[in-house]
């Protein structure tokens, strides 16, 4: 069987227009999942938890997508886009779970496209502009290290849907952290210029770390990862004074609103559109 033939099988038509270009009719990423919230789980708390984790992922995915056509190498562009896609997938599942849990039955689109910056609960580190490649790598290292440790705890959550989303995410996040850590070592241990940029990036990102450690303390895991990477990269551990305020309470930098304006522009211009 030739490759040409095998890919041609995908072009076989169905009478009911189920090809991608026409939409599939399966918009809900939790389609056909038992969505009962178990007894003993506070639905509002569950929804808030899902929204915060989804907002981190959505905002990160949007920043990663900004690297498309601008990354240093084609392979890195593909990597950043793939990591963004994993995070977008996690965001979709988490938004859907939030909408079922909080009783509003809101869709993933309602959360992603029809909330304003003050309603977002992502950490501010996720929304900062991409900066140079070094900053994007440092940010990915910190956020993926935190998210991996957080998701590992969530695999034991009393809500089976959130636990399952987390179990799946752990596998993906291990790849993200590995990618960021390897680049951090390569750049930190690279040329004087790449080393200088990594130091600057670490100093810029570090004050936002405090915000990650407020709700659920996985500080130990994140600091251990950071120690390991900085030691291998010949970089100093950053010393920082945590910033006041928190994206988890809806307090954001001036960078989130323009990011959302771009992300939400099509959905808001055509609110009834389906794709």
């Amino acid at each position: 069987m030739s490759d040409d033939h095998v890919y041609m099988t995908l072009a076989e038509g169905h009478e009911d227009d189920t090809r991608w270009a026409y939409g599939t009719g399966f918009e809900d990423p939790l389609h056909g999942v038992d969505t009962t919230v178990p007894e003993g789980v506070d639905p509002a708390e569950l929804a808030a938890e899902c929204v915060a984790l989804a907002d981190d992922a959505l905002v990160s995915a949007q920043r990663l997508a900004e690297w498309t056509t601008r990354a240093p190498e084609l392979e890195e562009e593909v990597a950043l886009a793939n990591i963004g896609l994993d995070l977008l997938g996690q965001a979709r599942l988490l938004y859907s779970r939030a909408g079922q849990a909080d009783g509003t039955d809101r869709s993933e689109d309602a959360y992603a496209y029809f909330r304003d910056a003050g309603d977002f609960r992502n950490v501010r580190l996720a929304e900062l502009p991409c900066g140079d490649f070094a900053f994007s790598i440092v940010r990915m290292l910190l956020l993926s290290s935190w998210r991996l440790a957080r998701f590992q705890r969530l695999t034991a959550h009393a809500d089976p849907v959130l636990a399952a989303i987390a179990t799946k995410g752990v596998k993906e996040l291990a790849y993200h952290r590995q990618y960021a850590a390897e680049w951090a070592v390569r750049l930190g241990d690279g040329t004087p210029e790449s080393h200088r940029r990594m130091r600057t990036a670490l100093e810029k990102a570090a004050p936002y770390l405090g915000e990650l450690f407020t709700a659920c303390d996985v500080r130990e895991e994140v600091v251990a990862d950071l120690r390991q990477v900085t030691a291998a990269a010949g970089l100093p551990m950053p010393v920082y004074r945590p910033l006041s305020g928190s994206g988890r309470h809806g307090e954001h930098t001036e960078h989130l609103a323009p990011l959302l304006a771009e992300l939400q522009s099509v959905a808001r211009a055509h609110p009834e559109a389906a794709w």
């Binding site: 490759d3 095998v6 389609h31 996690q90 799946k168 291990a174 952290r177």
Partner: protein, 171 residues
């Protein structure tokens, strides 16, 4: 009762033959994403699928394809369910699936890492990880990018025959 059993088996057979939208040399059964096909008492076919990656854009397409093929085969009532737990693992790709991947120049995955509740170790030292070239069989290969055209694949190249090839990642 006999009819029901046969129908369930037939429905399963139909669903198993649906090609994967991104790796069409594999059926959904080869890939291990088809978790079950059952026939309820009222004649509804219930097919259960599990996503490979959270962001896999092919998931909606898979659901639509399975539903369409079953309807084409005469099953009027089809229900598609999503199973998130346990999460898909590349270990679930069948032997037949691995053979088909290799036949099409895609290196099949090795054994997937097991993630328990202990922190996932971060390994920074170079690891000896050999992926034989699916074209010439040489073990003299190297990774060029851990991320490739689809979520589930990495990009490698063979130093012996100089050909680049894709490799399905362990997850």
């Amino acid at each position: 009762m006999v009819t029901t059993l046969l129908d369930a088996r037939h429905a399963r057979h139909i669903a198993e033959q649906v090609p994967d939208p991104e790796l069409p040399m594999l059926t959904l059964a080869d890939l291990g994403v088809l978790r079950g096909v059952d026939l309820t008492d009222d004649g509804t076919v219930v097919a259960t699928l599990t996503p490979t990656y959270s962001g896999c854009p092919a998931m909606a397409e898979m659901r639509a394809d399975v539903a369409a093929r079953l309807r084409d085969a005469g099953y009027a009532h089809v229900e598609i369910r999503t199973a998130l737990d346990p999460p898909w693992s590349s270990d679930w790709i069948t032997q037949e699936g691995r053979r088909k991947l290799a036949d099409h120049g895609i290196a099949p995955p090795g054994a997937a890492p097991r993630h328990g509740t202990a922190p996932v170790p971060l390994v920074l030292s170079p690891t000896r990880h050999t992926v034989p070239c699916p074209r010439c069989g040489s073990a003299d290969t190297e990774e060029t990018s851990r991320f490739a055209a689809t979520s589930c694949k990495a990009l490698w190249r063979c130093r012996a025959c100089r050909e680049p090839f894709e490799y399905v990642k362990e997850i």
